[in-house]
Symmetry: C2
Subunit: 290 residues, 2 copies
DNA sequence: TCGGATTACGTGCACCGTAATGATC
DNA sequence: GATCATTACGGTGCACGTAATCCGA
């Protein structure tokens, strides 16, 4: 068998045409490279070069060998990349969700459940999440429902209730609750992407004007002092400090409450035994489906 | 990059399950292998093993690495085989022909033209020869005609005339020539495969009984003393001694004479410049087509 | 004379094997 | 006690770099 370093040197010689240029590029000496090429020829067992006194050229065999060597080296790199990628994936839990709320609640929990692994989160549509779960891109996904898929295990993981944040001066600021119908036509400022809430709001308040802003602290500050309505949820309220001079009012509509399910592949259920136990404790079954 | 020897050792460990067994198989020492596996881990940059105090196991990464390594090693072997095959092919000239006659004449000529290469010959049908020429399995082929193919160069390389060999006692033994019609229905003994002559004989003498024999010296001896007719050609007569007690009579039919063309790929024409010059000298043009 | 390959030569270190140690069954 | 991996240690070979040589443009 032929050592990888020799193949690299062959490829370098093929690319740089002279031993000296290749040697420089490889940060080695010309004689070392010259010897390597001899050894390579020895290992292949066939002549690879045409030698004149001060010129070394690849012959037909050598050209083929260099081309194949490049291929083999590429295969090796692929191998290394694959192993490293596997290792990385073994050290992280990737969780995808249709909404940011449950991630806010669950990712710290996940981190403490699996202390040696890092948790990465991503927002996606349900249509994207299921195939990505199957491909192993995500180990866990959070949906609004139990998917009709017998490869997938699901467990309830809480709910989220939509609120509106209004300046105290707003005409509805005194209310205990509001309806989507009452708020339809209002202008909202919204920070960042909110997944499925987008669709719910669009459906329930077709005339609302929602200004989506990137999650940028400057904009955030502006929103804090502006008189525009913004959205909150029970989850976000638990995690972030209330803004002074504003009142928080729940939407009373049924569609303002969403229940979530945390899913994994059935084949991975054992791996996440501990995690699902935690979920069951934290979110005692309303209507489990598993 | 990772040295090939380390990958081989990894694969051996994967196969043999313990360092000691793998070390024995690799004809090296246990400590050496232990160190190699550490180095391999270092090179991959990720853990490949689960180590207990006196047990070494591949982890998930390691298993993937071993599987990929096996693949890479296989690629390497393929590379080596390809280069060696190319070298071999560069050292031999493979010539295919529709008939054995021209090979008898030409292969010694080829050998002396290309002293450093070995000549290998094969009998095939025209339908097989042309694709095999294009695939590089043959560098030269001999056909009865100029192929209608603009990738192929052709040059005349002589002709062959069919004769019959009869015992002196035969009723036609006194003739200066015979016709296929006169010989139709005769029993012939024929040594070995003769390519296109087969078809010519079958077409011209549909009632002849030709007993094909393997090229076996015992049978040859029998043929020499038997009274059965056999075939000869001007080429075979030039190369092999006449058989005593027999007369050699040419077929006078037009189809008993065949002209041959030596062909190569146009792209190889330059490589065979010298050879075709030799042919042109030996077989001055009757009706060249190139 | 310069650029490039090879040969000559001395050196260092990387790897090897033996032996010892540690650990588990 | 047997088996297996790892650590320790001393020795050797091999591959390296420098320098010298040779050759061709």
């Amino acid at each position: 068998m032929i050592e990888t370093s020799l193949l690299e040197q062959l490829v370098a010689f093929h690319d740089y045409k002279t031993l000296s240029a290749a040697a420089e590029h490889l940060m080695t000496s010309q004689p070392a490279l010259s010897r390597s090429m001899r050894k390579l020829e020895e290992d292949f067992g066939v002549p690879l070069f045409e030698r004149s006194r001060n010129r070394l050229l690849l012959n037909e065999n050598g050209i083929l060998a260099a081309e194949c060597a490049r291929q083999v080296l590429h295969e090796q790199e692929t191998m290394i990349a694959r192993v490293r990628a596997l290792d990385r994936s073994r050290r992280t839990i990737a969780i995808g969700s249709v909404a940011p709320g449950p991630l806010t609640d669950l990712s710290p929990l996940l981190s403490s459940e699996y202390e040696d692994r890092t948790v990465s989160t991503e927002l996606r549509t349900k249509e994207e999440l299921i195939p990505m779960l199957k491909q192993g891109i995500f180990q866990l996904i959070i949906l609004r429902e139990v998917p009709a898929d017998d490869e997938i295990y699901a467990s309830p993981c809480g709910s989220e209730h939509l609120y509106v944040s209004l300046p105290e001066s707003h005409s509805l600021a005194f209310r205990k609750s509001v309806t989507f119908a009452e708020m339809d036509g209002t202008e909202f400022l919204q920070i960042s992407n909110v997944g499925i809430w987008e669709d719910i709001k669009k459906a329930a308040m077709p005339h609302a004007r929602i200004y989506l802003q990137k999650d940028n602290s400057a904009i955030k500050a502006i929103a804090a002092v502006s008189s525009m309505a913004t959205f909150k949820t029970d989850i976000s309220l638990r995690h972030y400090a209330p803004e002074p001079g504003r009142v928080i009012i729940p939407f009373s509509d049924e569609s303002a409450v969403v229940h979530f399910w945390c899913c994994c592949l059935k084949k991975d259920e054992r791996k996440f035994r501990g995690w699902f136990k935690t979920l069951e404790t934290k979110y005692p079954d309303r209507n489990r489906h598993d």
